[in-house]
């Protein structure tokens, strides 16, 4: 359930919403059942031994794996430890540790190698026998489309807190299983359930102090393709991690294949640091990049102790740069009033998608009413008097859309931020530069985050965010469901809406790049940033101190 709070819609509405969803699933199943079933992979004319292997090996592999399952955690831990010890990121293990490690590593390999071999053999035989099946469809078109429709509405109803997340998933799973049981979809193995568990894992925000110090220090890191121009944005010290966030420009490479050599930049961006007490630390790069740009952080393991005053940070072969590690100058965002009801908030978030997505290539001018609006009205979750629905209707009319779903809904005035974004779309007057930030947001919807930098370009700007428990955005059919609404207003009066453009998610940690639309006003000297979730919203104002674009 979004927001983690109690469902707030009326009980009858919730029951109608779940019934609607389940009846939709029934209808989609019926329609899909009218289409021909998918072709099941078969052994065809394969030889007898191959057919036998096809049937026997994978189950045998699975049984073997099951038998050694109690050993699995040990095996995996040992192998991972070996990787770490042999890798570059950690100092070498001590003698005793190496001896103990060597013994257990041997055990791990002894157990895991034959297991993998059996499993590989099983899979390889299946591949040989299947042949064409590797390219087969994973389901019939009506089945896939129906499942998508139910999935999207389930997700929307869950976001509007009309059904709880578990019930929504159960309905979609039920339909998918029913379709698979009728050969309209490829049946899924047990992996899907576990994958979902991973996606659902969210780390609680760290207990303890969160420190963020703006830096704004340029660094030039030599690499074989030329210097990587970085700006150290901010130092973030949390109980569970210590990071220096960075943004940078990669050297131009004429030959694309040359770039291919760098499947990742953790090599050139390996970092080290020494604190004022002489203790040294190693760090590695986390984040992402494209052809020319790089965003992320240098992550220290372990981090400096609380008493450290400063760090001399050396990135790759660059000269060391001294950064202060104490005396936090972070701006703390203030919690504001609780947002409207989840349904209203949901409708507003869908309206905001129109604003935040208009810059995307292929978005075009076509505007369609969000598909959940009809069902929301049908189950009585929203009426034509809803302020959010009236705002949406006003926006759609402003964008020239005559959607029948909101034809009877009167327009309200467009909120000032929305009107501002529409008025400024197409602007390309943003300054070029980077402004380090250190804005700490309070916990909202079980998530904490720190904004660590703003990078401005003529046609857009991006915010760098470090988060704990920040949910992975859900991408489905060309749309991204944002966990939060992020708005900014510069002191020149221009509003900006933020939307995720990239991010790394893992272990409950996140590095997210948020694109601001439209670009920052050229005269702006400060930015007011508001983050809104289902359980609350917080706002902070930060000065902009521009530095040259790396």
């Amino acid at each position: 359930m979004a927001g983690g709070g109690q469902l707030r819609a009326d009980g009858d509405v919730r029951e109608r919403a779940e019934t609607y969803l389940r009846l939709l699933a029934e209808s989609e199943l019926r329609h899909a059942a009218g289409s021909p079933p998918i072709r099941r992979p078969g052994v065809g004319n394969a030889s007898l031994p191959l057919r036998a292997a096809y049937q026997l090996l994978p189950p045998a592999a699975a049984l073997t794996a099951r038998a050694v399952r109690p050993l699995d955690p040990l095996v995996r831990r040992v192998l991972a430890t070996r990787e770490r010890v042999q890798g570059r990121a950690l100092p070498a293990a001590g003698q005793a540790a190496r001896r103990a490690f060597g013994a257990s590593s041997g055990l791990a390999v002894a157990v895991s190698t034959p297991l993998r071999a059996v499993e590989r053999a099983g899979w390889q035989v299946r591949r040989v026998v299947r042949g064409e099946s590797a390219r087969r469809s994973h389901g019939t078109e009506p089945a896939r489309e129906g499942l998508d429709r139910v999935g999207r509405l389930a997700s929307d109803f869950a976001a509007a807190e009309l059904v709880d997340r578990t019930a929504a998933e159960s309905i979609v799973d039920g339909l998918e299983s029913a379709l698979a049981a009728r050969s309209r979809l490829e049946p899924r193995g047990p992996g899907w359930a576990v994958r979902r568990r991973i996606r659902q894992q969210r780390t609680s925000p760290p207990a303890g102090p969160l420190v963020a110090i703006p830096l704004g220090r340029p660094v030039s890191v030599p690499s074989e393709d030329g210097p990587i121009q970085l700006v150290l944005l901010a130092l973030v010290l949390a109980p569970d991690r210590a990071e220096v966030t960075i943004t940078g420009r990669l050297p131009k490479v004429a030959d694309g294949m040359a770039r291919e050599r760098h499947r990742h930049w953790s090599g050139p961006l390996t970092a080290s640091a020494t604190d004022d007490r002489g203790a040294s630390y190693r760090a590695h790069f986390v984040g992402g990049w494209d052809e020319s740009r790089l965003d992320g952080a240098l992550s220290f393991q372990p981090g400096p102790p609380p008493g450290a005053q400063w760090l001399d940070v050396k990135v790759g072969e660059s000269d060391p740069v001294r950064v202060q590690a104490s005396g936090s100058q972070a701006v703390t965002a203030e919690l504001g009033e609780k947002p409207a009801s989840p349904v209203e908030r949901f409708i507003d978030s869908r309206a905001e998608r129109f604003l935040s997505n208009r810059w995307l290539p292929g978005a075009g001018d076509g505007v369609a009413v969000p598909e959940a609006i009809g069902p929301l009205r049908e189950v009585g979750a929203v009426s034509r008097e809803s302020p959010a629905l009236q705002r949406l209707a006003a926006l759609l009319r402003r964008l020239g859309s005559g959607c029948p779903e909101v034809e009877d809904v009167p327009s309200s005035d467009l909120p000032e931020p929305w009107a501002s974004v529409l008025d400024s779309q197409g602007s390309a007057d943003g300054p070029s530069g980077v402004s380090p930030l250190a804005v700490i947001f309070p916990e909202i919807d079980g998530t904490r985050c720190v904004l660590t930098g703003l990078r401005s370009e003529p046609d857009s700007a991006t915010l760098q965010l470090v988060g704990w428990g920040w949910p992975e955005p859900v991408f489905s059919r060309g749309e991204l469901t944002e966990p939060f609404s992020v708005w900014a207003r510069d002191d020149a009066g221009r509003w900006h809406i933020a939307a995720s453009t990239g991010g790394g998610f893992g272990g409950g940690h996140a590095h997210v790049t948020l694109r601001l639309t439209p670009p920052v006003h050229p005269d702006a000297t400060a930015l007011e940033i508001t983050l809104t979730g289902y359980s609350g919203q917080a706002t902070a104002t930060v000065p902009l101190t521009w530095q040259g674009q790396p």
């Binding site: 969803l21 990742h264 990049w289 995307l360």
Partner: protein
């Protein structure tokens, strides 16, 4: 309705592999029995205490476990024409459970990527997400997604991360590419998968057993307060009433509105809707009696297989008429199409 819900359902048998032999499971009068295990109860107790459990006994136990499982109604057939293709192999695949690794989209190349947060710990996975209206995730070949501002891309797993995961964890590489570790494949997940596998195994016993399992579940809910299960029960009812009414009317099933009745009456027209309790699913639909010779059966009043006395509508807007029906030939209950009923008198 005075007849027990199972009175119009004939016996059914299925052959199952048990201890290397072919054994028989028999359903009769609402009960499932293992014909080749005279002391099934004793074996059941032994199995519960940790002893070896023969497959027949395991299936008996599973039948009991799922006798009120609404998932059976979600997966099970909606009509005689609704054919399930589940087989024991699929159930077995689920029953064996995840072996600890699942696949993520492999990255087949490209110049963009992501790097891990630190030397990888279990369960950590890094990938990048990018939004775009221009790209439909399914439209992209697996692994061709890219990352970068303003680029049409979705979600990728760094090849670097993947390769580290593989080498670090000794993972296998299946036909769908690199695989990543799954932490927490814990007891809940095992139990969930085991329950799904059991249900598939029961459905794999064949159409006769599929209908009987659904009827058993419907009967279990017929006398209960629906509570939070009302939406699921309504959908289960609608999924079975709508095709029957639609075939009787010659209409589109989507146009048939159905609601769950609180009282235990038969199927009845209520304005523009059809109303029924779950007992209709158990006693009428489960017995394959929904539509007989152009008559819509709304209730069973008395039954002793292979004969039944029912109330049926012969035309829309008409009144239910007492009708006697009988199964055309013995043993038809086991056929994939279900028993073939015919009217033998008023």
């Amino acid at each position: 309705m005075t007849a027990p819900w199972w009175a119009a359902l004939g016996p059914a048998e299925a052959a199952v592999r048990c201890g290397g032999q072919q054994h028989r499971l028999r359903w009769e009068a609402g009960r499932l029995t293992a014909k080749d295990h005279p002391d099934a109860e004793g074996e059941l107790v032994l199995g519960t205490l940790g002893g070896d459990q023969p497959d027949c006994i395991r299936l008996l136990s599973a039948w009991g476990e799922h006798s009120d499982d609404l998932n059976a109604l979600m997966l099970g057939p909606r009509s005689a024409a609704d054919t399930l293709t589940v087989d024991v192999a699929e159930a077995e695949r689920l029953r064996l459970g995840p072996v600890g690794w699942v696949g993520y989209a492999p990255l087949t190349g490209g110049t963009r990527g992501a790097a891990p947060a630190r030397p990888l710990t279990w369960g950590e996975l890094w990938f990048r997400t990018l939004r775009s209206f221009a790209v439909n995730a399914r439209g992209l070949p697996r692994g061709s997604a890219t990352w970068g501002p303003g680029r049409a891309a979705v979600s990728v797993v760094s090849a670097q991360v993947t390769s580290q995961l593989i080498s670090a964890a000794g993972s296998r590489q299946g036909p769908r590419g690199p695989r990543a570790f799954l932490p927490g494949a814990g007891q809940d997940l095992d139990r969930e998968l085991a329950r799904r596998a059991e249900l598939l195994e029961l459905l794999a016993l064949g159409p006769a057993f599929q209908f009987r399992l659904c009827a058993t579940v419907a009967a279990a809910w017929a006398d209960r307060e629906p509570g939070p299960a009302r939406p699921a029960l309504t959908a289960a009812l609608a999924g079975r009433v709508a095709p029957a009414v639609a075939s009787w009317l010659g209409a589109d099933a989507d146009a048939v509105q159905v609601s769950l009745a609180d009282e235990q009456g038969g199927l009845a027209r209520d304005g523009d809707r059809w109303r029924a309790g779950m007992r209709w699913v158990a006693a009428v639909w489960g017995a394959g009696l929904a539509v007989i010779d152009g008559n819509l059966v709304v209730d069973v009043t008395r039954a002793e297989y292979p004969e039944a006395h029912v109330l049926a509508l012969d035309r829309p807007g008409g009144k239910p008429t007492p009708t006697a029906v009988a199964v055309q030939c013995e043993g038809a209950a086991d056929s994939p199409q279900g028993p073939r009923w015919r009217i033998i008198g008023p």
